[in-house]
Structures are given as C-alpha cells and as structure tokens.
C-alpha cells in the first residue's frame, strides 16, 4: 500500500519534472527540473529494490552530470531576449499531435499486449536467465547482480566504454584547445 502511494508520488514527480524540463523557458529551471526528474526516477528504482541503480542515478546524473550542465548553462548566461519570444505556430501543434499520437500508438499497440506475452513467457525465462547469471542469494538489482552483469556478461561493452571516454576526452581537448 505504502509502496503504491510512493510509486504514484514518484511517477507523477517524474512526469511533472520531465514536462517542466521541456516547458520552462529559463534553461536553469529546465536543468534543475531534470535533476528533480532524475531524483524521482531514482525513487522508483528504490521501489524496485534496485538500490545500486538508484544511487548511481543520483550520483552520476543528478550529482555530477547535471551540475556540470547547470554550470555550462550558467556560464552561457542566456538572457530572455536571446532566447527569443515564444510563438505558437501550426507546426508546433502538428508536432505535438504527431508525437503524442506516435507515442500513444506504440504504447497502446506495442507495449499493451506485448507485455502480456512478455510477462507470459518472455519475462519468466528472462528472470530465470538472470537468476542463472547472478549469484545465489543475490536478487535482481543488488550490487552482486549488477556487478556480475557488468563485469562478466557485458565485459566487452564495459571496457569499450573506457575507449569511448578516452576518445571523447582527446577529441574535446583537440577541438577546443586554442593552439594546436
């Protein structure tokens, strides 16, 4: 019961903060709304008993990435006039309708019945697979389960990510450095 109430609080929080990210004209407000959105998302992870994912969400996204975002936005120091005046065009209406329509269609047709079948056979095998990959007594989302998934099952993408970061750092420095 308490979990259901908490879930709705977090879900509404995610949706509300997510909408604020898009709707706010002030970029700082948008970025801070994104922090709030991540925070509520972390709450839903906690409800799934995935503490590790939740805290990583908070540490990495809300803590580090978003603060850097906010930093950059602040240093750019956009004024209202630079942001331009909001205009209501027919294209925005069409975009809104088509996005909502497409998302609705996928959610309705795809997810609605797909998840019945996934829950019927897919998820069952999935969970047994996960159980096979994880240690006995290490439930889904726990530190051990995540560590096994990352370091054994997905060791190639994990190591490859370090190459990606190296390339990103070198590339950024090379492009941004005044004198080469």
């Amino acid at each position: 019961m308490a979990e259901t109430i908490l879930f709705y609080i977090f879900a509404i929080g995610v949706l509300f903060a997510g909408a604020q990210v898009v709707l706010r004209r002030n970029p700082v407000h948008g970025a801070l709304s994104l922090v709030a959105c991540f925070f509520f998302l972390a709450g839903t992870y906690v409800l799934l008993a995935a503490h590790l994912i939740a805290i990583l969400q908070i540490m990495v996204y809300a803590g580090a990435v978003m603060v850097l975002f906010v930093f950059v936005i602040m240093l750019l120091n956009l004024k209202d006039e630079e942001l331009g005046t909001p205009r209501r065009t027919i294209w925005k209406g069409i975009g809104l309708v088509s996005v909502v329509g497409a998302t609705g269609a996928v959610a309705w047709r795809g997810l609605g019945s797909a998840y019945d079948s996934v829950l019927a056979h897919g998820a069952a095998t999935q969970l047994t697979d996960m159980a096979k990959h994880t240690l006995p007594g290490a439930p889904f989302g726990s530190l051990k389960a995540v560590a096994h998934a990352v370091y054994l099952n997905s060791v190639l993408p994990f190591e490859l990510t370090s190459l990606l970061l190296l390339v990103a750092v070198v590339g950024a420095v090379v492009v941004a450095k005044g004198k080469i």
Partner: protein
Amino acid sequence: MNFNPNDLVGILPAVILTLGGCALMTTEVFLRKDGPDRRYQPFLAAVFGLIALYVSLSQLGDPSATLFAGAAVADGIGRSISAVVSGTLVLSVLLAAGYLETLSASRGEFYALALFSAAGMCLLSQATDLIVVFIALEVMSLAVYSLTAWLRKGTKPAEAAFKYFVLGSFASAIFLYGAALAFGAAGSTRIADLALAVRNANAGSSMLVYAAGALLTVGFAFKVAAFPFHMWVPDVYDGAPAPVTGFMAAGVKAAAFATLARILIGGFGDVGASMGPHGWQSLIVLLAGATMLVGNVLAVPQRSVKRMLAYSSIAHAGYLLVSIAAMAGSEPRQDAVFGLVFYLASYAATVIGAFGIVALIERKLAPTGASDDLTTWGGLAQKHPLLAAAMSLFMLSLAGVPPTAGFMGKLGIFRAAIEAGLVPLAIFGVLTSAAGLYYYLRVVVYIYMVPSTKPEPVVGGRMLTAGVALAACAVLVIWMGVQPGAFATLTQSSLAGFGK
C-alpha cells in the same frame, strides 16, 4: 561466463589499433617543446595499421567464434571489414602526413584519433550486441567528428564539424531508441535474441519489432548517408580535411554497412516470421532507389570536385543498399554478401585515391580559403601527368567503367540484385550510374582539355608519402578491376558464420 583472454584474439585488429593510438599519444608527451619533430607519427600509425591489416587478413580463413558471451563475434565479414578498414587507415594516414605538414597542423592526436576510430570501425563490424554496436559506433563517430574539426580556422571546418556532430548525435539517439524498443521486444540486446523475438512476434509485439527495425535502420541510414538523411554529407565532406573525408567515406561506410547487414539479416531476417525479411527488404529497396537517384542527380551541378565526390558518395551508398536489399533472407544470399564486401573494398581504394588527390590540391588552396572549383583542376595533365592519370583512373572507377575496380563492384552488386529478383532496382541502378558518367568525366575533361589559368604549380608541399599511397590506390583499383579473383579470399571468407 568468465572472461576468457582468448576472446581478445578475436578482436585483435581493434586491440592493435587501440594500442597504436595509445602509443602515439604517449610518444607525444616526450617530444621536445620547441620545434618537436613529428615526422615519425604517420609512419608509426601506418605500421600499426599494417599490423592490423596483416592480422585480419591472416585470420580470414579461421572458423568463426563467438566472443565475450555473445557480445561480439569473430566471423568472416568482421575480418574482411577489419581488413578493409585497416587498409583504409594506412592509406589515409599516409595521405594526411604531407597534408598536415604543409598546413602545419601536424599532431600525434590526429593519428591517435584515426587509429581509435578505426578500432571502433573494426569492433562495429564484429558486434553482435546492440549495446556494443552503439558504443563502437560512438567511438568511431566521436573520433571522426574531432578529425573533421581538425582545421578549425575558418568557418567551413567549424560548420562541418558542428553539423556532423549534431546530426550524428541525433542519428545515434534514433538508433538508441530503436535498440531500446528491440530490448523491449526481445528482453535482451543480443542480435540473436532479437531474431528469436522476431520469430515469436505476435500481433501485439510485432508493432514493437517493426518500430525497432525501422529506427535501427534509420540510425544507420544517417551514418551511411542514405537518401532522406543525406543532408549533412556535402557540407561535412566539403569542410573536413580531404584525407579525413576519404577515410570517412571509405571506413565509416564499410563498418556501418557491415553492421546494418548484420542487424537486418541476423536480427530481422527470419523468413518464417510475419515481418521477416520482406518487411525490411521493401524499405531498403525504396531507400536504395531514392539514394541512387538523389546522389547522382545532385552531383551533376556541382562545380567543386570535393562536393561532387560527396554527392557521389551518396550515390554509392545507394548502390551498397542494393546489395543489402539483395541479401534478404534467413540465410544471406552469398553473392550479395560477396558483392557488398568487394564493393566496399573497391570503393575504399578508389575514394581514398580521389580524395588524396583532392588533398594535394587543397593543401595549396586551404591557406587562401578558395574552394577546389573545377577550373583549379585545369592543366593538371601538363604539370603532373601521373596525378592526372591517377585521378582519371579513380573517376573512371567511380563511374564504373571497365577495367576498373568500380566496374567489377557494380557488376557484382547488380548481378546479385537480379538473381534476388530485384530486376527493376538493378535496371534503375544501372541507369543512374550511367547518368553519373557525366559528372565524373567532366573532371577528366577539365584535367586534360582545359588549360591552366594560373602560372604557379597546381599542387604543393612534400609529395613522397602521398605519392606512395596514391600509387597503392591506383594499383589496387586496376588490380581489382582486372583480376577480381585475386580478392576471392577476402570476399568469400566473409560468408563464414555470417547471419547465423
């Protein structure tokens, strides 16, 4: 399930290229502060590229093996593409050496990024997990974005890099959305599990699978510059340094096409499924037709050779898409796979050569900020007859005139298309490539028949390494055109373990 060090042997080309990049960046630290001597760098990069080329060629015949618990695979097409990419890298760094030196923009990071990007391409062609595909795609792309921005002075490179970065990130996001939907349908990111989900798709989940397939295809259509997503190509190819453009045109295309084929055949290729290969085949046929048409038509009015080559690369993406469409089936049609690999190899040799000669012209022009208009090519034949001959050869190969590599490539692809029953598409392809003759031959006409308007030499700077690379390209183009059987191991072993 434990990490098996032997799996590293399967991705050895990528490992070698990565180590090469790290080695180059490490040596950069030890250079003298005043007047550092950087002449060794392109050769070091080329040596690592050659080792990777040798390794991928020597592994060609080995049996295919699943690596890292199914995250990647060492199979024929992966090794063939690794070989093509390594060769592309070697030729490109040799062409870049004199170019960067002339423009005094030589730095170890250039070669390091090129090596990293080639490593990403090799891994991309070996990836059998959508997460690995995504990360390898980003390794490749981020490195190429930075290489595009290498000469930041002036607005053109900045515009090119920014456009490439923004649109490329957009494409990556679309790909990622498709991957997320595929995960929703399959419960796993492995392409093999995706195939299972496609087979078992019912009325409800097939929508998810369709959306996933479409989004994944769109993501790659951006990278290979297929028709509705080709807008970035001319500006990016034009703004990037010419050796980078050649590397980009050859390497990125090779890796992206191999992966697209792998995802479509391996993931969505099940004939028994309600949305099997016929679902995506018609999509690819449409893309191929439109891309061939648009690329060839838009290339005609171009005055700048570099820009013309950019549009021509769109047209070539269209021809390559024909081979993907011809592959459709649960087992990939083998002549289409051969055609794809051969075409990628021949296109790589040709386009690197063409952009290499553009680079020689651009060295001279870049400080003045002028574009390489057709008139600047006038009189090349009198001053540099060898370069003129090579350029004509590359143009003929791009146009698909026998006896060049381009002809054999087109022949293979269109024959595969006809055997797959795509006769109208093949005819359309032949017609559009005939239209392409016009703008390719126009370059040859300017080189040989229009006298130079300026007294100074057309090209500038040191030429030795570039000359070696161009000679290698020219030899490859003729060799592949005259004796395509010599490359049979490269193409035919590419089928091993593919699409299983």
